[in-house]
Symmetry: D2
Subunit: 406 residues, 4 copies
Amino acid sequence: MSDKAYVLFEEQQRNRGIDLDQVKERLKALKVETPSWGYADQGTRFKTFQKVGVPRNTYEKMEDAAQVHKFTGICPSVAVHIPWDKVDDYAHLKEHVANLGIKIGAVNPNLFQDDDYMLGSVTNSKEAIRRKATGHLLECVDIAKTVGSDILSLWFADGTNYPGQADIRKRVQWMYESLKEMYAAMTPDMRMLIEYKFYEPAFYHTDLADWGMAFNMANKLGPQAEVLVDTGHHAQGTNIEHIVAYLIGEKKLGGFHFNSRKYGDDDLIVGSVNPYELFLIFYQILDAAADVDPGVSRTANNIAYMIDQSHNIEAKIPAMIRSVLNVQTQYAKALLINLDEVREAQEAQDVLVAENAVRKAFEFDVTPLLQAVREEMGVPADPMQAYLEDSYGQDILARGKGGASW
Amino acid sequence: MSDKAYVLFEEQQRNRGIDLDQVKERLKALKVETPSWGYADQGTRFKTFQKVGVPRNTYEKMEDAAQVHKFTGICPSVAVHIPWDKVDDYAHLKEHVANLGIKIGAVNPNLFQDDDYMLGSVTNSKEAIRRKATGHLLECVDIAKTVGSDILSLWFADGTNYPGQADIRKRVQWMYESLKEMYAAMTPDMRMLIEYKFYEPAFYHTDLADWGMAFNMANKLGPQAEVLVDTGHHAQGTNIEHIVAYLIGEKKLGGFHFNSRKYGDDDLIVGSVNPYELFLIFYQILDAAADVDPGVSRTANNIAYMIDQSHNIEAKIPAMIRSVLNVQTQYAKALLINLDEVREAQEAQDVLVAENAVRKAFEFDVTPLLQAVREEMGVPADPMQAYLEDSYGQDILARGKGGASW
Amino acid sequence: MSDKAYVLFEEQQRNRGIDLDQVKERLKALKVETPSWGYADQGTRFKTFQKVGVPRNTYEKMEDAAQVHKFTGICPSVAVHIPWDKVDDYAHLKEHVANLGIKIGAVNPNLFQDDDYMLGSVTNSKEAIRRKATGHLLECVDIAKTVGSDILSLWFADGTNYPGQADIRKRVQWMYESLKEMYAAMTPDMRMLIEYKFYEPAFYHTDLADWGMAFNMANKLGPQAEVLVDTGHHAQGTNIEHIVAYLIGEKKLGGFHFNSRKYGDDDLIVGSVNPYELFLIFYQILDAAADVDPGVSRTANNIAYMIDQSHNIEAKIPAMIRSVLNVQTQYAKALLINLDEVREAQEAQDVLVAENAVRKAFEFDVTPLLQAVREEMGVPADPMQAYLEDSYGQDILARGKGGASW
Amino acid sequence: MSDKAYVLFEEQQRNRGIDLDQVKERLKALKVETPSWGYADQGTRFKTFQKVGVPRNTYEKMEDAAQVHKFTGICPSVAVHIPWDKVDDYAHLKEHVANLGIKIGAVNPNLFQDDDYMLGSVTNSKEAIRRKATGHLLECVDIAKTVGSDILSLWFADGTNYPGQADIRKRVQWMYESLKEMYAAMTPDMRMLIEYKFYEPAFYHTDLADWGMAFNMANKLGPQAEVLVDTGHHAQGTNIEHIVAYLIGEKKLGGFHFNSRKYGDDDLIVGSVNPYELFLIFYQILDAAADVDPGVSRTANNIAYMIDQSHNIEAKIPAMIRSVLNVQTQYAKALLINLDEVREAQEAQDVLVAENAVRKAFEFDVTPLLQAVREEMGVPADPMQAYLEDSYGQDILARGKGGASW
């Protein structure tokens, strides 16, 4: 049936003026990075439930990540978190990962779990602690060099819980000084992606609270610094795709951390709460990719897509596969938007026609398309089903409980 | 100076028609329960920073709680959490606590940290797990009987993370059946306080998501079941004092968990984000306490005030004292509202005068009043200062790090 | 191509165990009421832009509504708002409407635009105003009798803007007394649907602020009173489908006002912000419709679906058609959920399989199904296209600007 | 009694190390601008209730504003809105206003009530409309020159209601081009204050949605462009004082529109929802005013404070006086923060002491201080009481209903 479905799909899209060859090419080029910590035990402040079969170390996390790539074909890299993924020999790790058919992606420093950082890391009023934090950032640049990564992904838990607790303006300066030093240590091919977060774990103020603060920091640092958008890090009601469009227009959007949330930073499976929002994000990206301004289109085509989730109750590897598939599905749907049609309606100021030109692409079932693309890529047409039928999920149960956690 | 200040304050309030003797009497009658877990290490999902001097067991938690009562005079009871406060001999614990000059207050079952409860406790689709959960509830009734507590305080982490994960309507029934059994086991003097929570740790749906669901459950169970309002458990923008007024009007408000938050359920020190909201809550309570309907005034006068906070970065005992003082301060201010003045303005439909009649009570400095009351109660005029000058805070440092945590 | 598409769709769904005949039957039975005011000029507090061709009176509103039914086949009734739709002769209006092939649906009293109601209608502290408001409610019951409507749909703007402005508890009583009188005037076949709203136009407290207050009111009034859920009337992050499931479980859900919003009560086209939410609402309804409890399934099958939107910038009739089609689309998708599959996964406690069983139905393209259903119903396969090609939209431009507004 | 109270207050503050002379000097220097439209009829989208006595034209609005200054002494200027305040002869208006003892403050263009602007003004895809909008901006610069104002205050209703409706990135450019032209027309002493808004009246995206977009625009325009913070224009949970501190640190905060809200942009009386937030905003400003960086302190000392409210149900002039007094009260309280004490606690990393050092200033009753200051300024000690006892409020009732509205 799949064949019939695809033939029909092709005919349907051709009639709409969609160039399916280009769509398929872009789908094959899509890369979604998964995070090493996504394979480990995670929880809420109330409880981390320990799962059977969770990786016990970084090497096993990489093995799990390799499975996600094996079945989806679009996850060739894994983000690491230091020191969660600290190993004695990073060159050896790099080799191990290469043998698994994948590579190490973004390097993420961790500046929130050392006791010294309770009241701030690069923003701590104690110089010695800022120094220590900066040292860790520089260490991560070195690790990136060793493992061959060109992305440093920065999220800071820095902030305060109470009014008056700290000097907000001084902390801005301190963070800048630290990042400037890190920036200087990067090689010219490296990018520093600066993440922001609305709240948690700091509950009064977060030093990089929104895209504006991350953007301003990136502007001050230079062209190798860009903003990273985590879809769960905004106030309720925020139009995230607007921020995405705006940052691309400013040539400063560097990457994404994808996840979903209903209220807080719930870190649920991507696309499980409002898949249309994800689709609209991709619409803005694809619209920008077609911009006549080469800087804008270059930015839109150079975004690092990364998953950042916390699977508290569900099986880890299948949950990651689900997220990756959901990203791929919404990307595929967005590729079916006829941008010319949208633009014509915009120029005619026909609100309903313009809205419809975007939304109707969302309503197509892209299963036949994705199955065709996967077949051409040499991966299973139904990656989830294939993974569940594979023995890997059973084999790792031998690891028992008590795996790594963050 | 304090004397002069009080004399002036007295004159000022007398001129406004405030009966200061009654105000003082009510201030002396105010009781605020502190939670045993509030003295233990707590954190966010990212990190629990371990503090030096944190109690290592329930007995030490009680000792810390006794200090808060010693210095404030209004915290004679301590809520316990089972199994965090599980001891071999509850009668012995009761005696120990009595020797400290305090007593055990609300008994809180914990149905969210056992692996069995990952997908629900009293709402779990597996009967054996519901049975186990109900057993724990009954155990807590027994403990309450043993320790002489008349309040069972119920918060459930039950909920789901994804659409379709569970049968929402069946879970309502299952919870009801379990609570009915618990209700039947209570002695006639006992009250069951049912707490609700908007989100976290379940991120898609919480089985008791709002006051309406807790209220409906309490209605079905009977007169000994009432609603507990945790100030941090509402959606942004919710008018909490409206809910308070409404529940008292329905004679179904049983208690409070006080804490503050800026966005999530941040569990910050009470009164640190919007002290006016706390004042307005007390305004509604005091207004209802003066109601001609005896059921309404009885309800308003029989509310259990409890602190429920998570001190992630600040010193435990002083943070608790701060919260207690903030509650006392806002209660004192609310007692200065001239309710007749408000009602007259309401009847005259003069919006600005009515608003002013409430707000102006908030603007008084109640320090002289509180100092006078404390003097009459035989506790330090400045409890925080007195505690900090006392040796207790230093002495407990000998406990070292690694205390109890939740 | 449509035929091929439907054949393929049918095969696909049959393989999944979906009974397409039943699906089609239910799609044909779906009724969505449109509101007379949705055809009139509407705006924000900043500006109501006047559109050319907007109806100048109730008769013309009915004519426009009849068009929506003509092209979609599922909008046979129109809600009216009194006094916006006040006419001298309601029997004549009823006849006019019948001649248009439709009928009058819910009757909506308006208690928020008379100067007397500035500080409350049925909750006003002045008895004379409450009396007047109750009189209007009784008038609406009479109108309903005359026009043959069995639904009274109540939304109150009542509330306050400032703390202290009014006596919250007394207002609860006053509203109850008024509604009790209205309830008594209804014939046994009539239903009173009680709507709630989180905020606006009252900004401090709304007398019926959430489902819990509407539900409690309906409970006190009796079996003919039920709750009406307006999808835009909740705090951010609220799980609306949870409330829907809960209310059906309590046999107290009576109807919906459909619209979308990103932040406030934006009253945008249904399904334009988060179509998945609408799908999940229908999932809960259909799940309940299959419940073994006859009261639950009866409730689920007896819900009044109504549109309530404010088309500030877009063309009125096409916007209404778009909303109706979006409702139909999500309903159709929800009908493709294999409820047995969901339940099996729930019983097996397989979170990912259960989530997938729901979500995958959302990913189907139901266009072939809807086209087939419409063909069988004798309406255009593409109602929007057909309306735009029809001359009606052009003809009404002769009405000019300055139509009715609310 | 007032004297005794002030003597006591003075002693108390002197003991805390507060320089009351400086505090009084700053209180006398505080200026709060009121808006001409705040004296006119305003409402919600549901209804604008018409008040008796509302000004019928700009001249009468100025007369009302002059009353607020007369009784408070701190409102010497009035913001105007063009075309709401369009007059034939601005020089004559200027003279009239001067005769009232006040002057014209910020000039606010209105680009949201002309039919042409329904889909955007300076961001409209039609060049002719952008041209018209820019012309209006230039007209406002001319008016400012004529009336002697040095502030152009810009709020745009521009945005979209639906995904795809317009090209988000192009609109950024179009707005920039328009503002650049306006900027060029300003004299060197003029400031352009750029306001942002989270939502409403556009419901999908607002072209200047947050401080970051306004800030980036101001940066591109030049030093005479700054950001204006309207306290009601943020998502729920946003830390506004953080944004204030951040913008001052960047030397780009130009002014405020003060009002309160519980959920939406409710435009309620300042300080009626969370007065502590207003206090914390002033804390950040005063902390910055004491900064060693002269650019930072200059910015903090050069902020334009303006009221922007919508009195839907309450009497206009008293509501404005209430707001002004609330601003003054919180400013006075913030002046009582001992900044040295805060900084010492921050350096010692004592969270609780630092928090307390800020909060305790909030708890003082500043009534004696304000009465003393007012006496020295030659205005009534209780401005509200004095206004209510004055005949002005009665006299204007002769204006009748049907005053100006926006």
